[in-house]
């Protein structure tokens, strides 16, 4: 054990030393970057930069600003007529904010960093969990429990030391969002919840920035560009063209119970990979000045990994009465988006209190009752204790308490409820379980509301669900 602890300590120190050396190298290399017109450098620094750059440019003049290393490094994309030297200069001067360092944000920022986008900000309040890694490709096993934004920034720096990466380990909200977003030219919505999507839309409407919005769940993904304004692009023929914003298309948020999440519904890793990569492509095209016909402006891409179809559908135009992006918006400052959406901006565990305490038992109590029951069965008593697991079939197949039966909450009504009612009426004890103890309360309440008064006491719900079971009864039970 001593040896292990010693090694862990040594590795941590080495890692720290490596990080210090890397940031030293980064600072040195940064002074060799092309001069950005937008850089807030004082004159002395700028002159010094210019000097460095001049030294780094060989006799043949490659472009206005790009030094030799940049021409070489980015040559494969500079070769494209769609990008070219001018496009690369714009990329090197561009600042992109990626909101969410998850399944979308990771692949999106990898390609932006690779493409030499001058500054990338990456926002995420959360820390790396082992269940993230199958899709969140910037994080590794050793990054577990560290800040996602920091972990992503570290990997991005290792991909490109010539660009500036700024991690923001914060929950984006109405107080900080405008301050952060206003430092950037383009915003990528790689978030995982409805309130943040409305927040980002309004931020972009107020700050007049384009929003490249991606989303993914299970086997499907969606992508579009919101809030595009042609007057910021000199290549546009019609400078008055403006694409719709999120609120133009979805003025009202969906009911919270209709919104799925990766942790509840699952997601195939490559699906956000596809969408995140395409978000980066749209950002690159937008930065180099492609016009709205070529961008996903006013169009929504729908990807279905199940049968591998990509489909692009036409969205409605910008709403001239839109609350956020019209000429006379009613939203002139950010509001409370969690209240507006009646949902949390964190994909965090809800802790519902639907049932009163007498209908709830703890994991340890449940274990005791089950043990007692085994003794009773041995002594030929008729009474049974039924464990009703209301998670989805896929979750039930993944792991379950021995002897539990599966009644998925989605289909828990009608005949299914009647079956349970019959069992309770036959004097069986029924305990509902689910992953965290929320759905199980809903199911238990349905039964309690229907059952005769005398049997109500036989219906229980496991507090904290299978997570609690794993914590206090069976350490080998997987927490997912």
């Amino acid at each position: 054990m001593d040896r292990i602890q010693k090694l862990e300590k040594e590795i941590n120190n080495l890692r720290k030393a490596l990080q210090e050396k890397e940031s030293e190298l980064f600072e040195m290399k940064r002074n060799w970057m092309p001069v950005h017109p937008n850089n807030n450098l004082n004159q002395e620094d700028a002159a010094q930069l210019q000097q460095h750059n001049l030294k780094n440019v060989t006799k043949v003049y490659y472009g206005d600003k790009l030094p030799k290393w940049a021409i070489e490094r980015y040559s494969r994309q500079i070769l494209l007529p769609d990008i070219g030297v001018q496009g690369q200069e714009k990329l090197c001067a561009a600042k992109v904010l990626v909101v969410g360092a998850g399944g979308l944000g990771c692949p999106a920022s990898v390609y932006l960093a690779g493409a030499g986008v001058g500054e990338i900000g990456i926002v995420d309040y959360d820390s790396v969990d082992l269940t993230n890694i199958h899709r969140q490709i910037l994080h590794t096993e050793r990054d577990q429990n560290t800040s996602k934004a920091e972990s992503a920034a570290d990997t991005l720096r290792s991909i490109n030391s010539h660009i500036k990466i700024t991690p923001y380990t914060v929950q984006l909200d109405s107080n900080n969002a405008l301050g952060i977003a206003s430092r950037y030219d383009v915003i990528l919505d790689c978030s995982d919840n409805v309130p943040t999507r409305y927040l980002l839309n309004d931020v972009c409407a107020i700050a007049k920035k384009p929003l490249i919005s991606g989303s993914a769940l299970k086997m499907e993904g969606q992508l579009t560009v919101y809030g595009y304004r042609a007057d910021r692009n000199h290549n546009e023929k019609d400078l008055s063209h403006q694409g719709p914003c999120y609120r133009c298309v979805f003025p009202n948020p969906p009911p919270a119970e209709a919104v799925g999440s990766c942790s509840a519904n699952g997601v195939a890793g490559p699906v956000p990979g596809v969408i995140g990569a395409l978000q980066a492509l749209e950002a690159i095209k937008l930065i180099v000045g492609q016009t709205h016909e070529k961008l996903l402006v006013g169009r929504l891409l729908i990807f279905d990994g199940e049968d591998v179809t990509f489909r692009t559908v036409k969205l409605r135009p910008r709403n001239s009465q839109c609350a956020a992006c019209s000429e006379s918006p009613t939203i002139t400052r950010l509001v409370d988006y969690e209240a507006f959406c009646k949902a949390q901006a964190k994909e965090k565990d809800l802790d519902l209190q639907i049932l009163s305490p007498e209908y709830r038992i703890t994991a340890s109590q449940l274990e005791e009752q089950l043990k007692k029951l085994i003794l009773e069965v041995d002594s030929n008593q008729k009474e049974r204790h039924l464990l009703v697991d209301v998670r989805s079939e896929a979750e039930f197949n993944m792991c379950r308490i021995d002897g539990a039966v599966n009644y998925p909450i989605d289909q828990f009504r009608g005949d299914k409820v009647d079956e349970i009612l019959r069992m309770v009426n036959d004097k069986n004890q029924v305990t509902f379980v689910c992953r965290r103890g929320n759905d199980s309360q809903i199911a238990a309440k349905m039964v309690i509301d229907l059952i005769d008064e005398e049997h109500k006491g036989n219906v229980k719900d496991l507090v904290g669900g299978l997570h609690a079971w794993s914590d206090s009864v069976d350490r080998d039970f997987p927490i997912y």
Binding site: G100, G102, G103, L104, G105, D189, C190, S191, D192, N193, V194, R197, G214, S215, A216, L217, K218, E220, G221, Q222, V249, F250, P251, N252, P253, P254, P255, E257, A258, V259, G260, S261, C262, N265, V267, P272, L300, I302, D304, E306, R311, T312, V313, K314, L315, R316, D410, R413
Partner: protein
């Protein structure tokens, strides 16, 4: 009397979960007056279609699909791959072989 109408119905983004997880369906609507004898108009529109869907396909939890006589917020209706707002939404008159798609918007990432 107007004849029956054949449609391609498609569900996606999770909306298919309310319809036995079937993403694509071919349906044939009877003549409108046969289905709604008291109806004041002759041709099927999206409003009528939503009622037909509720009666024939949507067995459970209609509130996750419908709100009032329209679809709930967060479901995008597409008529032949274009936002239904471009075609008059509920009042659009269905044509033979139209593809009507109901896409639930995703928010995960």
């Amino acid at each position: 009397m107007a004849a029956s109408v054949k449609l391609h119905l498609q569900f996606g983004g999770g909306a298919e979960l309310l319809f036995d997880k079937i993403k694509k369906r071919e349906i044939e609507l009877p003549a409108l007056k046969k289905y709604f004898p008291d109806c004041q108009h002759d041709k099927w529109n999206i409003r009528d279609l939503l009622v037909w869907i509720k009666d024939n396909l949507l067995r459970e939890r209609p509130e996750l699909f419908l709100q009032g006589d329209s679809v709930r917020p967060g479901i995008l209706v597409l008529i032949n791959d274009a936002d239904w707002e471009l075609y008059g939404e509920l009042d659009y008159e269905l044509q033979d072989n139209d593809t009507i798609m109901f896409i639930s918007t995703l928010h995960g990432g």
